[in-house]
């Protein structure tokens, strides 16, 4: 166990490691995703109240969890980046933002598509929906601020501050259904108690949750690799990699 994991905080060491890991995570995410979709669409029974419309839960809930989870990771990475100025932390924070925004979009759209047949409306300004929309705007704000600077590292620092302040919205999204009266239903899954869902409906949900987590790791590794090439474009290890025949 003498492996020094901190050495992988250096871009030069992280780059090949992420390159090795990403395809495995992506493949595993694909397999689990296919299994989860299969069980969710074909094996799990219909809901006695919602019929087959409830099947949107299998993509809506994992995406919603990812939208909050990724924001949390982005916030933590931003703290590390702002306090210790570790380049890899900046990369992790800034490259998480588009993936988080993607999951937030899926959450909002799938929720809307679920709301129409069940509530009779595509959208309502209740606390859960509004705070999730604010989450999307926070992601877009972080992405926009990051790209507003000529200097990438300065942009990452400014956007990092915004990301850290925005973390306050994550518990608001999570607890909104308890704190306020919302049209949106309360939590279905309870990790510390009894879940309000049948076992054969719970399984595809958990499998797809794991699949989206793995997908995030894979996408983050791949995005970070591309970004590190750009950030370290004046370093010898990148020259060696992209143009070995002319590297000194």
């Amino acid at each position: 166990m003498a492996i020094n994991i901190w050495k992988y905080a250096s871009p030069q060491a992280f780059f090949p490691l992420a390159g090795k890991l990403a395809p495995w995570f992506l493949a595993l995410a694909g397999v689990l995703g296919a299994v989860g979709l299969y069980i969710g669409l074909l094996v799990a029974p219909s809901d006695f109240q919602q019929g087959d419309a409830y099947r949107i839960i299998f993509i809506h809930v994992p995406s919603a969890w990812m939208s909050m989870f990724i924001y949390f990771v982005m916030g933590v990475a931003s703290v590390v980046a702002v306090v210790w100025r570790i380049k890899l932390a900046e990369v992790v924070a800034m490259q998480s933002a588009p993936i988080g925004a993607a999951f937030t979009c899926i959450t909002l759209v799938s929720g809307s598509l679920w709301g129409k047949p069940m509530w009779g409306t595509w959208w309502t300004w209740d606390a859960r929906l509004t705070s999730e929309l604010v989450l999307l705007f926070l992601y877009l704000g972080v992405i926009g601020l990051y790209h507003a600077f000529e200097d990438r590292r300065q942009g990452a620092r400014a956007a990092g501050f915004l990301a850290i302040i925005g973390v306050i919205n994550v518990p608001i999204v999570h607890f909104s259904v308890n704190w306020w009266n919302t049209l949106h239903q309360g939590s279905t899954i309870n990790f510390f108690g009894t879940s309000k869902i049948a076992a054969d409906m719970l399984w595809p949900l958990l499998v797809l949750t794991l699949a989206t987590k793995l997908y995030y790791v894979a996408s983050l590794c791949r995005r970070a690799r591309a970004d590190l090439l750009a950030l370290e474009g004046n370093k010898a290890w990148v020259h060696e990699l992209v143009a070995p025949e002319v590297a000194p």
Partner: protein
Amino acid sequence: MTGSWQAFLAMGGYAAYVWPAYAVFLAVLLGDSLVPTLHRRRIVRELRAQLVRQAARQEAARAAPAVEPGAAAAPSRSP
């Protein structure tokens, strides 16, 4: 079998909501997975071109004095 397929595709009458939701899920993640590949290709292409140009310039600068021995003492930066 065709009947059960039709039932599956009908999603109990909620096909218009269930399938678009799944389509958005797959399309967004597929799009997301393409971004890093395209981004990486572009960066590598640009960096490569820049490094090759740089190497050619340095090569030319090294070769210049040999072509013109008189100018070797004061190497001029050609525009």
